[in-house]
Symmetry: C2
Subunit: 310 residues, 2 copies
């Protein structure tokens, strides 16, 4: 089954302790659609300017990403972000943001996308995410990503949006911020009460969890010995997660658990190189091998307590 | 089999957003021995002053903790710590530390303890941990806990100690600090090269991992909806971990994985109440039920990728 992905398509200038890149391919829809494209047909809804190089378009096309929904504004400039990561690769500073063509962007779903049963509302303003939702008829599953910026500046539209999505995908600090709860389990419980049927909590290099009304499931992160650039890891996770679900055509508990593993594995490839380089040319064997590594790392036998000294 | 535990026995005054306690029972050996005592006979090596109330001694005795190695210095005062936790319950400020009888403490293993095959070097100065190690003959397993304070102020003795322990137990930031590596897997690899056969990395409310030369194993944390006081959670984890191993009399890979689960479950009870209240009166059914919850939360089916769109 097919996936439609709305989000940013961007040019990123990134500095990390391991080096830097200038005006590299980035954006939430870019990372997510590349990750999803290995498992399902992925169509992007986004906007770029005339400065968006043909090379980038070609790279996405080669990956099989459907660009019918990518608007090109020839006399506009592509969304640009410049950021610098601290040595811990977790904390980052935004040095420059140019919204450019994104300032007036209004996402338009091509008619052919409206039948795609899996919809990823990538990390953009919640009002824009809502406009996409208004254009589709009952998708099978809507996954919504967001970030601290929208929690701080667009809380009301975000809350309205949450009532209409199936799965919310946030990191642990966003989960706490959005719910006002200190503990992640309490935050997840509160977020589940606000609309979504499930909440995914990303825990960076500690792994991730999915919470539902009847319980939770957690996996460790795929070990990355030499992380290079964490940009886009969350988007890659979301794209891999939804792409795998679409490929299975099922959204039961067991498949959701597997999708979390696949998303996590895809994200581990993402952080191993700058921009999208780590995920542009993956082969099946590498992905399968990391899924197996995670399976081995998470497996334990039920505990049978012997004596109990009361 | 039996466990010997060296560490601090202390009085703690703790403030958290959920309340406070004054001169409550605390210390690394206290938490660890209580946790271990449900699974194995646990003997403490430590020191207290004349101000250490009979009530505390009685509470430990009722729990079956062997206090033969607890030195009481009638005209001395017990180690005292006062701290305050931030609303996130992760960051804390030490407001007061009185070493008191700990200033001149030199641990002495009672002859009866020297045969205990499982030894926990709880979180105290590495020179003191070393002195304990010098008094025992080839224990089956030595688990060593430490903290940022010793990494900063006693790095050399700590490094010497690491060559003589089987398992090192640290949290993720200590693992990074001690190894100088950014990523936890790289940190674990480096620490494994410095002596211990295994390294446990505690990740707070994200779970924990154990790294060995042939791979790693990770589990999520046991969900705690309303954490009250995280003091002693790491010590409780270590005590539960080693106590379970001792009860099984095996230290193979499968048993180590189960021990990590048991340690994590014990720690979840610890943070639900101030001081040791959460772990003093546990029943078997509650512990078994949380172990099962973790098992359900970590279980997934091997991933079989369907189509792969190269």
């Amino acid at each position: 089954m097919d996936v439609a992905i709305v989000g940013s398509v961007a040019l990123d200038s990134i500095e990390t302790p391991n080096g830097s890149v200038e005006r590299a391919l980035g954006g939430s829809a870019t990372y997510a659609s590349i990750a999803a494209s290995y498992f399902a047909s992925a169509g992007v809804v986004g906007v770029v300017g005339g400065d968006f190089s043909k090379k980038h378009i070609a790279a996405l096309r080669r990956r099989g990403v459907d660009l019918e929904g990518l608007e090109i504004i020839p006399d506009g400039k592509t969304f640009f972000w410049r950021g610098r990561y601290e040595p811990n690769l977790n904390d980052r500073t935004t040095l420059e943001t140019q919204l450019n063509v994104f300032e007036t962007f209004s996402p338009k779903m091509p008619a052919s996308y409206c039948q795609r049963p899996f919809l990823l509302l990538g990390n953009i303003h919640p009002e824009l995410q809502m406009r996409v939702l208004d254009q589709v008829r009952r998708p099978r599953l809507v996954l919504c990503d967001t970030m601290n910026l929208w929690i701080e500046t667009a809380l009301e539209p975000l809350r309205r949006l949450l009532r209409r999505v199936d799965i919310l995908c946030v990191n642990d600090s966003e989960a706490r911020q959005l719910s006002g709860k200190v503990s992640v389990p309490a935050a997840a419980e509160s977020l589940l009460a606000s609309g979504p049927k499930r909440v995914i909590v990303k825990r960076g290099d500690h792994g991730c969890s999915i919470y539902g009304r009847r319980g939770f499931f957690s996996i460790p992160a795929c070990p990355v010995r030499r992380p290079v650039d964490p940009t886009g890891a969350g988007d890659t996770f979301a794209g891999g997660f939804l792409g795998y679900l679409a490929s299975q055509g099922r959204v039961d508990d067991a498949t959701l658990r597997q999708a979390l593993v696949v998303g996590s594995v895809m994200a581990s490839f993402c952080v191993e190189a700058f921009s999208v380089t780590g995920i542009l040319r993956l082969n099946r064997a590498d992905v399968v091998s990391r899924c197996r590594e995670l399976h081995r790392a998470a497996l334990f036998q039920p505990i049978r307590l012997g004596r109990w000294l009361a």
